[in-house]
């Protein structure tokens, strides 16, 4: 016991030792401050992200947090006009399709260079398209989500989910004319060319850093250095650094761009907790963040922050599975459900400012939306009557809803479930609630196994094409909805194949009418997410597609 007792001298010696240690540490490393240097007078904006990006090669990505960053560095051929879903020129000044929709000719902007000095021209365009089409390896192909959606197949499909490729080849007619040839027409074009995954990247940089190398070992993927450090485009910013420990991605102005940013630096800081983002904005650590909680709008505005409401590009629907309960095959029962739900009140009391009642399955910003559809205003008496006519007055339905999740179209699933099921109980339907975690059974049970009678789900659009909504939902027989209606399937296929422009919009207007008569599910609302920026930030325009580009942002 004695040996441990610290005598006064020992104690002094220990303190001395600690001091010496501290002094010796002091000298042992050099400060690296101010080496990078901001430079310029444009200032820095720090934006709060909700999650980590995966890496920065957009073709292997499909998540919003990655795209938020890549769209500041990389340009697409066509882009969405700020604040809308309308198309406008970007790297292509003009685009046109042949009558059969199989050939797309792009006239390219001249004198544009990638930030590594490589020329942007028709060869570079073709290099990008050919790169996607010829991508090798099941690992790489499995990560090309949007390519798979839009172009359907590869030169050689190596996964088990590939189909016949839509893409045929690309010709560089002259340096400023690129022609994309397709095997079949597709309604997704030209809007799909705005997808961040299809942004143009420097062929030189991709070759130099082996961009296509995606390897898979065990249950994980490894990407090449290109995807982490060397992504090279023509955009207003270019990549500077990614500090994983701090969760900070730094971009700097790309001075060699044809339209450089006004800011010197743009930093994305990952803050997954919603409240922590709010705190950071209050403290001035960040100058903006995405998806503020609707309950905070008032508070944020009181403090002088700008809450910018995005035009809706979402739809929330009540799914109906006709194979679940045979009564649901009767259109009168489905109509009764529609008449029985007080959507007006739900939207007003439960959803964020700016949200609207949905009248069909595409939001208003989409071409193909029409006001001329059968509507089902709240009318519980009529609902009861329809149920009685169909002999379904004692209907019992299994109503599935997700937990542990918020989606842009469904900020609070439990609340949504409660509102809707109360309405349905009022018209005499017995509800058996089934709550399951989103990524923990819900999606499987609802979409793969079709265990439900009713369920909540929705969609956020990727680009301005009605097929991206209704084609995805009702284009073929699916477990989720459990119906087989060849007439509807054919109409959707025909609309998808109709030539771009007015004919395309008309065709989808017809389909939307048809859907609202057949009523395979019930559209509930067009919810609106928001984005918040600090009082001094100018030039952020809220986009329906969350396509906010910070090139014009200034701090005033």
């Amino acid at each position: 016991m004695q040996q441990l007792r610290l005598t006064r001298t020992r104690r002094a010696a220990l303190i001395g030792l600690a001091g010496v240690l501290a002094v010796s540490l002091t000298a042992c490393a050099e400060s690296k401050r101010d080496e990078a240097g901001g430079g310029g007078t444009g200032g820095t904006m720090v934006f709060g992200d909700t999650g980590n990006p995966k890496m920065f090669d957009p073709v292997f990505n499909d998540d919003g947090e990655t795209f938020r960053i890549t769209r500041q560095m990389l340009d697409t051929l066509i882009q969405n006009k700020q604040g809308t879903a309308e198309l406008e020129p970007s790297l292509a000044t003009k685009w046109e399709s042949s009558n059969d929709g199989k050939t797309w000719t792009f006239t390219l902007k001249q004198g544009v260079k990638f930030s590594d000095g490589t020329d942007f021209n028709a060869d570079a365009v073709c290099y990008n398209f050919d790169r996607w089409y010829n991508m090798k390896g099941a690992a790489a192909q499995s990560q090309m989500i949007y390519y798979g959606d839009v172009f359907e197949g590869f030169a050689k499909n190596e996964g088990d989910a590939g189909g016949d490729p839509v893409y045929k080849n690309c010709e560089a007619k002259d340096p400023s004319t690129a022609v994309i040839n397709l095997n079949k027409a597709k309604g997704a074009f030209p809007a799909a060319f705005t997808l961040p995954s299809f942004a143009m990247q420097s062929p030189t940089a991709m070759k130099q850093h082996d961009a296509d190398k995606v390897t898979q070992s065990g249950d994980s993927f490894t990407y090449s250095d290109y995807a982490y450090k060397f992504v090279t485009g023509t955009g207003p910013f270019k990549f500077d650094s990614w500090d994983q420990g701090k969760g900070e991605i730094t971009l700097v102005r790309n001075d060699s761009s044809y339209a450089p940013a006004k800011l010197d630096k743009l930093v994305f800081k990952v803050i997954p907790d919603e409240n922590a983002r709010k705190q950071a904005l209050k403290a001035g650590d960040i100058q903006g963040y995405d998806f503020p909680a609707p309950a905070d709008y008032g508070l944020l505005r009181n403090e002088g922050e700008q809450v910018l409401i995005r035009p809706s590009f979402n739809v929330l629907y009540l799914g109906i599975n006709q194979s679940g309960n045979p009564k649901l095959k009767d259109v009168r029962v489905r109509q009764a459900l529609a008449y029985g739900i007080n959507r007006e009140q739900f939207v007003k009391s439960k959803l964020a400012e700016g949200s609207e009642v949905a009248t069909e399955f595409v939001p208003k910003a989409i071409s193909g939306y029409t006001d001329d559809v059968t509507k089902y205003p709240y009318d519980p008496a009529k609902a009861k009557q329809l149920l009685a006519e169909a002999g379904a007055s004692n209907l019992t339905l299994k109503f599935y809803y997700p937990t542990e999740v918020t989606r842009p179209y469904m900020p609070n699933p439990a609340d949504t479930f409660t509102s809707i099921s109360e309405d349905l109980k009022n018209i005499g339907i017995t509800i058996q609630p089934v709550a399951e975690p989103w990524n923990g059974g819900y999606k499987d049970d609802v979409q793969k196994f079709g265990k439900q009678d009713l369920h909540l789900l929705g969609w956020t659009g990727d680009y301005n094409d009605a097929g991206n909504f209704v084609g995805t939902f009702f284009g073929r027989e699916k477990k989720e909805f459990g119906f087989n209606n060849p007439e509807l399937f054919n109409a959707l296929a025909a609309a998808d194949a109709s030539p771009a422009g007015d004919a395309h919009a008309k065709a989808y207007q017809g389909v939307n009418k048809q859907i609202m008569d057949y009523l395979p599910a019930i559209p509930i609302a067009y919810p609106t997410p928001a984005i918040v920026v600090g009082p001094k930030i100018k030039g952020v325009v809220a986009s329906p597609l969350t396509d906010e580009r910070f090139n014009n942002v200034t701090i005033g």
Partner: protein
């Protein structure tokens, strides 16, 4: 001593092995999976099945486990599915933050908890005792995240303390070891040292509440036990001064259960760190774990959970060693 250490390390191997099986099976028995998380909102069942095939997650689980084990013994725990970084390097990057936070929390808990416990015992039944008992009850009962949010809203602004993150955005501190304070000292960036300390205060106190309350109560109980011992009467009758009695006889003898508690609480700290780090956006292992669970990041979770278990085993070993130092009756063999 050496034999003891070697034996304990060898004993840890089967423990970790069994745990790895449990973790592996448990993760895969959770509904959902990494493919659904990776592919996002719009994943179709076909795409999920295809990705599961690419990742080998459709193979028999025994086969998957042995493949995992084969790589793990070479130190390869795979890449995180969220960040695509090797999970071992992720742990290396995020561990310093958790050590800083955990160490600060434990220092707070010990420096305050032991005197509080002693005080409560000394004035047993009196006002200090009652106040301390009530406070410890509150300390154990209040959830960390609630306390964290409350501190952010009520304390941060009046005290001028940052409510989230590890460093002020404009500080531009040089990062060498990822230990913010140590880096600041090494590079003589004293403002960065001060900044890092300020960022630690609120989360460290939030994380410290539970261990603080537990240590206080154990110290109190343990000191009360010693007060009733015969040797204390002897010491008193020998005419030793009160300060010598307190230091040498009471505290020393009361410390054994306290040290055990400190060890257990240190091991359990990672649990509290998950919430604290999330609330304060303090980027450490808990932060990494929370993100991994949301995204069903098998490789990261496997590595982190095993790492947590390893820490627990090591802390227990340290506790056992410290017994021998505090109490010579417990000899380490």
């Amino acid at each position: 001593m050496l034999r003891f250490l070697v034996r304990r390390v060898l004993q840890a191997i089967p423990t970790l092995l069994i745990l790895s099986i449990l973790v592996f099976a448990w993760l895969r028995s959770l509904p959902g999976g990494p493919a659904a998380a990776l592919l996002g909102d719009k994943a179709t069942p076909e795409k999920i099945a295809s990705l599961n095939h690419v990742l080998g997650l459709d193979q028999p689980i025994i086969l998957q486990y042995f493949k995992f084990l084969g790589r793990a013994v070479t130190g390869d725990f795979g890449n995180s599915l969220v960040s695509a970084q090797p999970v071992m390097s992720e742990i290396g990057t995020f561990l310093p933050a958790t050590i800083e936070l955990g160490l600060s929390a434990m220092i707070i808990a010990i420096v305050l908890g032991v005197p509080f416990g002693y005080l409560a015992a000394r004035y047993r039944g009196g006002v200090p005792d009652n106040i301390i008992i009530v406070l410890t009850l509150v300390g154990v009962a209040v959830p960390v995240f609630f306390l964290g949010y409350t501190m952010q809203d009520l304390l941060a602004a009046p005290l001028g303390l940052p409510s989230q993150g590890r460093q002020a955005p404009g500080i531009d501190a040089t990062s060498i070891t990822n230990f913010a304070i140590l880096d600041g000292i090494m590079t003589s960036e004293w403002d960065a040292v001060w900044d890092a300390i300020k960022h630690l205060i609120l989360p460290a106190f939030a994380l410290a509440t539970i261990p603080l309350a537990v240590i206080t109560r154990i110290t109190r109980a343990s000191v009360l036990d010693v007060f009733n011992e015969d040797f204390l009467r002897t010491a008193n009758s020998k005419g030793l001064t009160q300060s010598v009695i307190r230091r040498r006889h009471v505290l020393r003898n009361a410390l054994l259960p306290v040290v055990t508690t400190i060890g257990l609480q240190t091991g359990a700290l990672l649990g509290g760190a998950v919430l604290t780090e999330r609330v304060f956006n303090f980027r450490g292992l808990g932060f990494l774990l929370a993100e991994g669970i949301e995204r069903r990041d098998y490789p990261r979770l496997q590595a982190l959970l095993l790492f947590g278990a390893l820490v627990y085993v090591l802390v227990n070993m340290l506790v056992d060693i410290s017994y021998g130092i505090i109490d010579p009756r417990v000899r380490v063999r």
